[in-house]
Amino acid sequence: MPAELNSYLLVGAVLFVCGVICMATKRNAIGVLMGVELVLNGANVNFVAFSKFTTLGLDGQVFSLFVIVLAAAEAAVALAIVLNFYNNHLTVDVDRGNKLKG
């Protein structure tokens, strides 16, 4: 693999880690969802980079396109669910959702 690839991959990895940390630490549901987006985009960076530097070729681009679309759809559904949560709990603090446990 060419050396330049590694720097892209590093960016992707940083995005990924940031996203994961965001998901695990944010109490606000919207913040959590943003973390998800970061993770997905970290992967997207990888795809695009790979498509450029490896035999993956155009497939990588297609991958990232699909991911972007899916991320939007998923975000829509997630936001709807957050809204629903807000309707019931009057908060979007994910820590308040702790009735279901054990």
Binding site: L33, V39, A43, A73, V77, A80, N98, G102
Partner: protein, 539 residues
């Protein structure tokens, strides 16, 4: 050249692609139809569930047609279509038939229990159908992209269905947890896919092993090689996503909460269908990675690792179920445990497939996948039966706790007998289907144990867990049969239709245990399907 490409594409699509995809198309069409109906207010005249049933039946019919084609052709085939995105073989057809049948049964259950009401029905069924399409895609995925799409497609509607009881706090909480967890897992998986696809330079699952060999050619095929290491990391991250779908420990946390928050019908659907799809995907993924001698050692280790995860999952599921009072939650843990049992089959398959004796073990490997499929088939009926009973009882007692089942035998024997059969089958006691399924899995684990000693541990864990599981299952039986019905619990007067419904499920569970035609037929088809999925690596 472009026209040639286009022509090929059109031929590929129209020639067989559309037929192969007909079940999914039927479902998609039904979704559109249902949504249109509400738009046009036709749903006041024609209840939505009828359209849904027709759609599901059509999908079932198409799947069955494909199935009949395959059986009639007598030769095992495996072709990719839609530009290599999906794969058509007996394995995927098996899942289509399986999922359509399950869809029909679920719709019937929702009709009987009255969830959802007429207003929400198109939405609900759309979600249901969407999720089913996703699961079918998972089972026939031939590309890492389809792997991700399938998972997402199955997951996203599921998030909504879990939160479908809109006014309920628990429901919204469950769906929030599910969506966040699911999204997180999907993200992790996607990152893993990017690594795998990138390093190996292809998205085609069937090529993975070959590419891995090429990648590893320079150095050794161990983890010392940085590229192999990256692939291994990627595979592991993909596994995290699948583990989430399969609710394997330690990625199972969503499962009890989501099941408790969701209605029993949805929980039943999720417990069986999404698991089925995920297992289909897992098998394809694992097969795609296998079959190359250079990586055999690595993949055997992977198989053993899956076996360890299976042990942990089963044990965890069974133990955690002990103290549950909410039946849905209890069954959620039971689902986790059963995922562990089924994972044992995959582990066994991996170990056998990557041993140097693999050519001699052909049948055994088929049978390990066959056992998994058989298990899924039986699991469909027994788990759905159990959830159906819970849903029906809930409709009268407005309660899903084990206490509301006390002394139920005095009021509705049909429900109790069904529950009894399902539970005995879940424990794995003959002559019910669950026993046969479990036997097949143990058998393949035993055979794998001839190759790698660690599988003996898996076998022992499976055996011990059978006994662990006894306690909490029997608690349900005890409540239903051995205790008096408390005075303050509302009676459960069961209408005939509902009784028939559950009894049919119970009868199926029982017949899958000893009716020779059924057991023979299903197990041989399952084995054939197991064979079919291996065709891509020349198995």
């Amino acid at each position: 050249m472009f026209s040639e490409l286009l022509n090929n594409l059109i031929e590929d699509t129209l020639g067989h692609g559309l037929w192969y995809f007909s079940a999914e198309l039927c479902l998609s069409g039904t979704i559109v139809a249902m949504l249109l109906m509400r738009l046009l207010s036709v749903d006041r005249l024609l209840p939505t569930f009828i359209v849904a049933l027709i759609g599901a039946a059509a999908a079932g019919g198409c799947s069955f047609g494909q199935f009949a084609d395959l059986i009639a052709a007598h030769d095992t085939m495996s072709v990719s279509f839609f530009g290599g995105m999906l794969r058509q073989d007996l394995f995927s057809v098996f899942f289509r038939v399986f999922l359509s049948l399950f869809l029909i049964l679920t719709i019937a259950l929702t009709v009987l229990t009255g969830i959802p009401d007429n207003e929400d029905a198109p939405d609900f069924y759309s979600m249901l159908f969407g999720a089913t399409i996703g699961m079918m895609l998972m089972a026939s995925a031939n590309n890492l992209l389809m792997l991700f799409l399938g998972v997402e497609m199955a997951s996203v509607p599921s998030y909504v269905m879990v939160g479908f009881l809109k006014g309920r706090k628990a429901s919204s909480e469950a769906s929030l947890k599910y969506v966040v967890y699911g999204a997180g897992a999907a993200g992790v998986m996607l990152y893993g896919i990017s690594l795998v696809a990138g390093v190996l330079g292809t998205g085609d699952i069937t090529l993975l092993a070959d590419r891995l060999r090429i990648v590893a050619e320079g150095g050794n095929a161990g983890l010392g090689d940085p590229e192999v290491r990256t692939v291994a990391l990627g595979v592991m991250l993909v596994m995290v996503g699948l583990a989430f779908k399969l609710s394997l420990v330690p990625f199972h946390f969503w499962c009890p909460d989501a099941f408790e928050g969701a209605s029993a019908e949805v929980a039943g659907f999720l417990s069986v269908a999404s698991k089925a799809g995920a297992f289909g995907l897992l098998v394809r993924f694992c097969v795609g990675l296998s079959g190359v001698p250079e990586t055999a050692e690595l993949m055997t280790a992977f198989g053993v690792g899956l076996g360890v995860i299976a042990i942990i999952t089963t044990t965890y599921g069974n133990l955690a179920a002990y103290t549950q009072k909410n039946l849905k939650r209890l069954l959620a843990y039971s689902t986790i445990a059963h995922a562990g049992y089924m994972l044992m089959a995959v582990a066994a398959m991996l170990v056998m497939l990557n041993s140097d004796q693999a050519p001699g073990l052909g049948k055994a490997i088929n049978y390990s996948i066959g056992g998994l499929l058989y298990y899924l088939a039986v699991y469909l009926f027994m788990n759905l039966g159990a959830f159906a009973v819970i849903a029906l009882v809930r409709n009268y007692t407005f309660n899903e706790d084990i206490d509301s089942f006390k002394g139920l035998i005095s009021q509705s024997p049909a429900l109790c007998i069904t529950m009894l059969v399902c539970i005995f089958s879940l424990i794995g006691i003959p002559p019910f289907g669950g026993f046969f399924a479990k036997l097949m899995i143990f058998a393949s684990v035993y055979q794998a144990a001839q190759i790698h000693w660690a599988m003996y541990v898996v076998l022992a864990a499976g055996a011990i867990n059978t006994i662990f599981s006894l306690f909490y299952y029997v608690r349900i039986l005890k409540a239903m049969f051995l205790e008096e019905r408390p005075a303050d619990v509302k009676p459960v007067p069961l209408p005939a239709m509902e009784g028939y419904y559950v009894v049919v499920l119970a009868v199926m569970v029982a017949l899958l245990g000893f009716l020779p035609q059924l057991v023979n037929g299903l197990s041989s088809i399952a084995n054939e399907a197991g064979h079919a999925v291996l065709l891509v690596i020349g198995g």
